[in-house]
């Protein structure tokens, strides 16, 4: 129960931050991908740069037990498909929900698509591929 409440609080904060950063704006995302506005790119890179030392701190504290994310045959192909979808819809998975909260109702279609695409991959994977794709849920 405690974990659930804290997860919800982190989710609200994450959604709030993504909205205030402008990640839920199609225009801003387009500006990032075409380098016409580097603010979002800098935001992302600065965030990653700040997170790097935190893992070392967690390691020192003995709190670093994460599951290794190795390269598999779907890494590049999946990433490319995701990137295309992100540029077209302006949404990575969390953004569809943030857009919905902002009142951008078109995001409902994006979310329907994300669920459908996820389910489609689940159906195809054991029939065609079959490697381990890994998941962040394992941590």
């Amino acid at each position: 129960m405690r974990e659930r409440i804290l997860t919800v609080l982190i989710g609200v904060g994450f959604g709030f931050a993504l909205s205030r950063i402008g990640f839920a704006s199609w225009d801003e995302v387009h500006g990032m991908f075409t380098f016409s506005d580097l603010r979002l790119l800098f935001t992302f890179m600065f965030a990653v740069a700040l997170i790097v030392p935190s893992w070392f701190v967690f390691e020192r504290l003995g709190m670093a037990a994460w599951v290794k994310r190795s390269i598999h045959p779907g890494t590049v192909a999946g990433g490319v498909l995701f990137g295309m979808g992100w540029a077209i819809s302006g949404a990575c998975p969390s953004i569809g929900l943030v857009q919905l909260g902002e009142g951008q109702l078109g995001a409902i279609w994006t979310l329907v698509g994300i669920f459908a695409g996820n389910a489609l991959y689940a159906w195809i994977h054991p029939r065609v591929f079959g490697w381990s794709t890994g998941s962040c849920l394992d941590d």
Binding site: S19, F33, R39, F42, A65, A87, G106, V112, A116
Partner: protein, 202 residues
């Protein structure tokens, strides 16, 4: 072009970094979003799974027994048995579907609160973007089709790649995980290429 009300990069970057750091410090979980979609899709496809009731030790013991049975005792990697090896950690029991739903709803609430606090909340049927309408036209049916199609690519691609901007991009990349670095390079590269192609359309 930047909306002046958006946070500058150093503020946004600092807050964005705080989210996965806090998530690890407090809940000890990697910030996952596409993984939660996967969790929910699988819950619907497969129904409730019993293995979430297993303790971690039981699961590891069962997996080791199965591996030994199938491939012989040599197949058990001694590194995997070392609990201090961070990158080879054994998976924890995942959060349940209710937590996934609550987290996804929390993102909606976060977006709503941000809009409520900074501007006047307005409802748009498509997206709040002139460029989007300029690129794909004003027809709501076409817009819905474009968004759903883009969404399918996002859902399919993130599941295939095993993560999205949060898990691979923010968390995996900062841990120097090879799969995450390659995935992040792939989706940023494809996003850049696709956006430049879209730019030609208007």
């Amino acid at each position: 072009m930047t909306d002046p009300s958006f946070w500058p990069w150093f503020v946004g970057g600092a807050v964005l970094a705080a989210v996965p750091i806090l998530n690890w410090a407090i809940v000890r979980r990697t910030l996952a979003v596409s993984g939660r979609f996967t969790g929910l899709v699988d819950r619907i496809r497969l129904g409730p799974t019993e293995d979430t009731d297993m303790t971690e030790a039981d699961m590891v013991a069962a997996l080791q027994a199965m591996t030994e049975e199938a491939f012989g005792p040599d197949a058990i990697d001694s590194d995997l048995a070392d609990p201090t090896a961070a990158s080879d950690a054994k998976p924890r029991p995942r959060q349940d579907s209710y937590t996934h739903v609550l987290f996804l709803l929390a993102l909606v609430v976060g977006g709503f609160l941000a809009t409520l606090m900074t501007g006047d909340p307005a409802i748009t049927m498509g997206l709040d973007s002139k460029l989007f309408a300029k690129t794909f036209g004003e027809d709501p049916a076409i817009q819905a089709l474009v968004l759903a199609g883009g969404g399918v690519l996002v859902g399919f691609g993130t599941r295939m790649s095993g993560g999205c901007t949060s898990g691979h991009g923010l968390c995996g990349l900062s841990r120097f995980q090879p799969g995450s670095a390659l995935s992040t390079a792939s989706f940023f590269g494809a996003g850049i290429a696709t956006s430049f192609i879209l730019q030609v359309m208007w």
